[in-house]
């Protein structure tokens, strides 16, 4: 252990039993407690985002009818607010914080053999920044005019002309979560570079650590661009600047920008609308990889552990993740094929986009190679990891349709893209998150989750997520635009599209399925909280895994490791023919695991 970690370690040990409630649970500087703060905040917001999603689905199946429980009919404003906040909450407050804030915090120091993060107090700040962002989002539900209804992309001029404080709150919320992300990224990169245990070379790090390292680089480079963009949007709204306001915009019959502008909100004009989109996607495309790379790392670890096999092609896995990072910065324009940017620019973005599919393909083949001739144990985390692979293939392949620029003309901004993003972010990433929660649950809380509930949760979630998202491809190719409040023609409101009348059944099926998808998360929550107190006591290394987090006492104390740790081999030495056991923990020199009474099979 390095000096810094050791110092932190000793410090933690002494203070451990004397900590006040506030310093232990609220202003903790222990990375594991911060991870749990991220976990529980994220889960609470996941419920909120999920409820909003069900509301959106309700509106699409039965437009402008009373939503049960909520007891109200959607107004179009509320619908667009729900849609916007569903996406924003899920992306900025659930997926990214859970993957990076929760898993990054939980895994990185434990897996590299460090006592804590290198900047524990910055780590705490990162959580509080994130919480401030979340507060902005939550508060926006109660401000005048309601939350932003401009879509999670917040394209101006729509986001500039929406009255009220909603969009301001939204921009500040995203800005604060962005700060949080950058703080976390700096911390992860430094921790991984400086605090690795002796013997933990770069190529002995588990793929989770690699994925967090690569994600952090992405976050660090991309987030400032988004921040500058949001600040410009914010200034446009509150200070009357014209970054994104071209000349001659008209609202309510009056010109309100440029030399002819009249009215209270009149401004100078001369801005560029498309600049927002460029800057936004320069961040938000890498953000998609921020949302999937850690999940890939998690899945790699789970697959190797439960297939009892080394990961197939460890280095190609790392190279492909790095390739995704590099390419990830030059593909943003594929969100803008129909936006009016130069069509030749579209061609170059098309080629780079096609090639970003390559590293993902390599990863899929390597996962399949990992399963090949393995000994697959169907524990709950493994089920989720396997479904990740299956669903990620679907999500990845549907991306190729969008990357093909001419096909994109038809399916751009339709439900096809909604299906694609949900296969990548829900069916893949959220499933990986579930898998990871189950996988590290025994280490985190010292008790085992209930296997039956876990399996029930998995199978029902898999069923209903496909029921919800698969049909979106179908209505999408039929031309169902995304972000409309009424799909098929509706007589009572005289809106919607007649060409979609034949496909309204699909909207209803998807809604039924989405409602069920919501309800089948109940076993997960029961399992999460019930097992925390009533679960069976867990062994230190219940999965017989190799990486360092399993070498700690359960649950790990402040400071993590009971003694100095040294690393002798890579993290995936399973089923080596020369070894008696089918696993070889990284920290044990001769490769023979310490036999533990609880771990006997």
């Amino acid at each position: 252990m390095t000096a810094a970690a050791a110092a932190e370690h000793g410090h933690g040990d002494h203070g451990h039993h004397e900590e006040s409630f506030a310093s232990k649970y609220l202003f903790s500087i222990d990375h594991k407690m911060i991870a749990k703060q991220f976990l529980f905040t994220g889960i609470f917001l996941f419920l909120l985002g999920g409820a909003l999603a069900v509301g959106v689905r309700w509106q699409l199946a039965w437009p402008f009818t009373e939503v049960p429980i909520f007891g109200k009919t959607f107004s179009p404003e509320n619908y667009y607010a729900a849609m916007t906040m569903h996406a924003s909450v899920m992306i900025f407050l659930v997926i990214i914080p859970l993957l990076v804030g929760f898993f990054g915090n939980w895994c990185v120091p434990l897996m590299i053999g460090a006592g804590d993060m290198v900047f524990p107090r910055l780590n705490m700040w990162s959580y509080w920044m994130f919480l401030s962002g979340a507060v902005f989002f939550l508060v926006s539900f109660f401000v005048e005019g309601g939350p932003s209804g401009a879509g999670w992309t917040g394209y101006p001029p729509l986001s500039e002309i929406q009255p009220g404080q909603g969009v301001n709150m939204w921009a500040l919320g995203v800005l604060f979560t962005g700060f949080s992300g950058v703080m976390g990224a700096v911390n992860y990169i430094t921790t991984i570079l400086k605090l690795r245990a002796p013997g933990m070379t770069f190529f002995r790090m588990p793929l989770v650590v690699w994925s967090i390292l690569i994600t952090s680089v992405l976050t660090l480079l991309a987030t400032p661009v988004l921040a500058s963009n949001l600040i410009m949007l914010f200034l446009d709204r509150v200070a009357g600047t014209s970054f994104f306001v071209p000349d001659g915009l008209v609202a309510a019959g009056q010109v309100w920008s440029g030399p002819d502008a009249v009215g209270e909100s009149a401004r100078a004009g001369g801005g560029q609308v498309l600049m927002f989109q460029h800057l936004f996607w320069f961040y938000s495309h890498p953000a998609v990889y921020i949302m999937v790379l850690p999940a890939m790392g998690i899945v790699s670890d789970i697959l190797a552990t439960f297939a009892r096999k080394p990961i197939f092609g460890y280095k190609p896995m790392i190279y492909s993740m790095s390739a995704i990072t590099g390419l990830g910065f030059i593909v943003w324009g594929h969100h803008m094929f129909q936006s009016g940017m130069n069509p030749y620019l579209g061609l170059s973005f098309m080629v780079s986009t096609m090639f970003i599919a390559l590293p993902s393909a390599v990863k899929v083949f390597n996962w399949l190679g990992t399963l090949w001739r393995g000994q697959i144990h169907f524990e709950v985390p493994m089920l989720f990891a396997l479904s990740f692979v299956g669903m990620f293939i679907i999500g990845g392949l549907s991306g190729i349709f969008m990357a093909a620029t001419p096909v994109d003309i038809h399916i751009h901004d339709t439900y096809f893209i909604v299906a694609h993003i949900h296969y990548v972010v829900f069916a893949s990433t959220v499933m990986a998150i579930f898998g990871a929660v189950y996988y590290w649950y025994p280490k985190m809380f010292g008790r085992m989750y209930n296997h039956t509930l876990g399996k029930l949760h998995f199978w029902l979630t898999l069923l209903f997520l496909n029921g919800t998202f698969m049909l979106m491809h179908y209505v999408g190719t039929q031309g169902h635009p995304r972000r409309i409040a009424v799909g098929a023609w509706d007589e009572t409101v005289q809106a919607g599209y007649k060409y979609l009348e034949d496909f309204h059944w699909a909207n209803e099926v998807m809604t039924y399925s989405a409602i069920c998808l919501g309800f089948v998360q109940i076993p997960f929550f029961i399992n999460l909280f019930w097992s925390m107190w009533k679960g069976e006591k867990a062994a230190d290394n219940p999965w017989k895994a190799n990486s360092l987090e399993w070498a700690t006492p359960t649950p790990p104390p402040h400071g993590n490791f009971a003694g100095p740790v040294e690393v002798y081999r890579g993290p995936y030495e399973f089923s080596h023919p020369d070894m008696k056991e089918d696993y070889a923990p990284q920290q044990i020199e001769d490769g023979t695991p310490v036999v533990q009474a609880q771990a006997a099979h």
């Binding site: 310093s23 609220l26 404003e77 508060v139």
Partner: protein, 301 residues
């Protein structure tokens, strides 16, 4: 018991700072000089001032000049009583607004954008409605000077704006600033009501379904010639007038009007019509207790 580390004060402060903008949510910033491009232009460019209709807000002058109720006249502050004509010892002003100029004909509007509207209704333009004998409908008649002594509270009942048959009923909204406005969608199609004025905040809401009723109570500042419009049906535009007192009325089909419950004294009466290409000068009138003063006015084009 270990003390909380001083560094933890940071996050608390952070959350507090994060919440700061909330406190400023509904308050207008108080600064000197032009606060936005509009004010800058207005301060430097007289043509611009005219373009945005500052003359309309000037009509709500706070300078009574020689006008005002006679000394000892009845005190009135209850808008409810005035609207009901229950002010003892007060007089009234009645008369007629007429139109002279080019022939005025209501054009049939193209409703084909909305299948429901086109299938169920015929709508004619309402920006210039003249009766067979020349009476001008939809003119706002109001007391523009002589009432500064009084401080009126808005009436307790809401006024209504119906979206009925793909048009606004009434076509002109005249109400007291601070009064509630009930907006009703009577149509089998979606409408949205989009209010833009200068003194009041913008309102932009959609009423998706028939029978929806919204109560708007944010129109609290007096201004003339604001507008409600429907962004879905571009032909639907309702001129909206918010008065600081209850002495106003909109002329009927024949161009007739009556202002009730005025304390005896002299007043200036002004007339506003939505067409910018016709005008009508204000008139002076003297009101006597228990009597109805008569006056006529004419818009020419």
């Amino acid at each position: 018991m270990r003390r909380v580390h001083p560094g933890t004060v940071g996050p608390v402060l952070l959350v507090l700072v994060a919440l700061l903008p909330l406190t400023a949510c509904d308050k207008a910033p108080k600064r000197r000089g032009p606060q936005n491009y509009h004010e800058y232009r207005a301060a430097n460019d007289p043509r611009y001032r005219g373009a945005i209709g500052d003359d309309a807000s000037a009509a709500l002058s706070s300078d009574d000049g020689e006008f005002g109720p006679a000394s000892g006249a009845v005190e009135v502050t209850s808008a409810d009583a005035i609207r009901a004509g229950q002010v003892a010892g007060a007089g009234s002003v009645s008369g007629r607004v007429s139109y002279a100029g080019k022939e005025a004909k209501q054009k049939k509007l193209d409703l084909s954008k909305d299948v429901w509207c086109a299938g169920n209704h015929e709508v004619f333009s309402e920006d210039l409605v003249v009766s067979s004998d020349g009476g001008l409908k939809n003119v706002l008649v109001y007391v523009s000077r002589g009432l500064n002594r009084f401080d009126f509270s808005p009436p307790s009942t809401a006024t209504e704006l119906n979206q009925d048959g793909c048009r606004y009923v009434p076509h002109v909204v005249a109400m007291m600033a601070g009064q509630d406005l009930k907006i009703i969608n009577n149509d089998g199609t979606s409408h949205n009501y989009h209010f833009t004025g200068r003194a009041n905040d913008e309102i932009n809401k959609t009423q998706a379904k028939q029978g929806q009723v919204d109560l708007v109570s944010d129109l609290t500042s007096a201004e003339l010639s604001a507008v409600f419009r429907c962004d879905i049906h571009p032909w639907m535009v309702a001129p909206t007038h918010l008065l600081a007192h209850p002495y106003f009325v909109v002329t009927d089909e024949a161009g007739n009007f009556e202002l009730k419950g005025l304390p005896p004294g002299s007043y200036e009466i002004s007339f506003v019509h939505e067409r910018s290409d016709m005008t009508c000068a204000p008139t002076t009138v003297t009101v006597e207790a228990g009597k109805a003063a008569q006056l006529t006015a004419q818009f020419t084009r």
